[in-house]
Amino acid sequence: MPHLDAAHRFARWLSRSGSDADDVVQEAFLRAFRGFDGLRGSDVKGWLLTIVRNCHATALKQQQRRAAVPLPQEDDEQFSSAPTASTPDPESASTADDDKRTLDRLIAALPQEHREVLLLRELEDMSYREIAAVTRVPIGTVMSRLARARAALRVKWLQETPGEPRAVR
């Protein structure tokens, strides 16, 4: 199944919870399969990620409708610990893990429209044009959101890790 990994990564960052992401991806593949003829361009990955994004939006709306019952807050614990690999020597591992957790948290805290362009660009290595197609905004908006996401991340990172020497102001 091509692009399953990318779909899963993207869903995970959109929904910020592993189990929700799984459901979103499954739904997206079903829609992709049924709507197979809906693919008009050549960009299969972008097409699939667009469907993932739509499925996530739908799921979110359903959740909000059911929101009389308070939702379990995004479980930071499970979220940030899942991807970490083996734990080597505790000293260096803990700083590296701290950095990872901080990065996870800062990116998760970005507004979705900033987070998604940043991740599509940096993790999926998509072009502005491809990102514009997935997020349904003009390329100029992709550029400005990307710039804002990166700037926000920079500011927050500097606030969170004051001890670390940085070449930037």
Binding site: M1, R9, D22, F29, L39, P83, K100, L146
Partner: protein, 262 residues
Amino acid sequence: MQCAEHYRVQAYFDGEVDAVSAVDIERHAERCAECRALLEHLASTRERIRRDLEFGAAPPQLRARIARMLDQEAGVGAPRGAARRPTLWRNRPFWLGAGGGVGAALAASLLFSLLSPSLSFPGPLLDEVVAAHVRSLMPEHLTDVVSTDRHTVKPWFAGHADVSPVVADFAGQGYRLVGGRADYFDHQRAAVVVYEHGPHFINVFTWVASERTFPDLTTRSGYHVAFWRVGNLQYCAVSDAGWDEVLALVRLLRDAGERDQR
């Protein structure tokens, strides 16, 4: 206050500017400390994200769940044999595959080809190339790289397609090279080279040949479609130009391709 160039610097960093602008921006960054710092920041952020944020593969349970779901969706309880390229029914009409192994192969191939619109019988693929040709005629869809210089077009494919096709300018013979594009066919990123001949455009698709065979010449929706192979590459030319005009280009390309092979 941010330097007015910061969008351009970002676009440069993201590989979104052409070579001329890139030189321009590099020169600017030499003079502008702010933009140099921005570039450093962009690089370190990217590095950190790619190093620390990669989630790796999707969980195997999810993969299995989706495979099961798509099996059901395809209406076949057959186990998933999708990794195997079905060749069994390659030469039969697909409606023969109502039962047994052929049905399973059909389902498997549906899964396999789920996300690459290429398909294992020539009919849909033929429709695909014609659709791609028609789509390419819409404004701004013709080419991703515009150049009459084959030394620009050919290397562009290295990063954008799975094959390296023959690219030549036959302006002398009336077929002007317009540019290139990548399109998805037959599970691959096919290379598309676009030629202009009088009022007509001719799209020449190239992908790695499979065992599948195509008619040499055929007409679909009023467009002329010619297939040929050189070595392990499958070529396909589509155009609304007349047969003679299409075939003249095919001959030129075939000769050039055979020279390339030697």
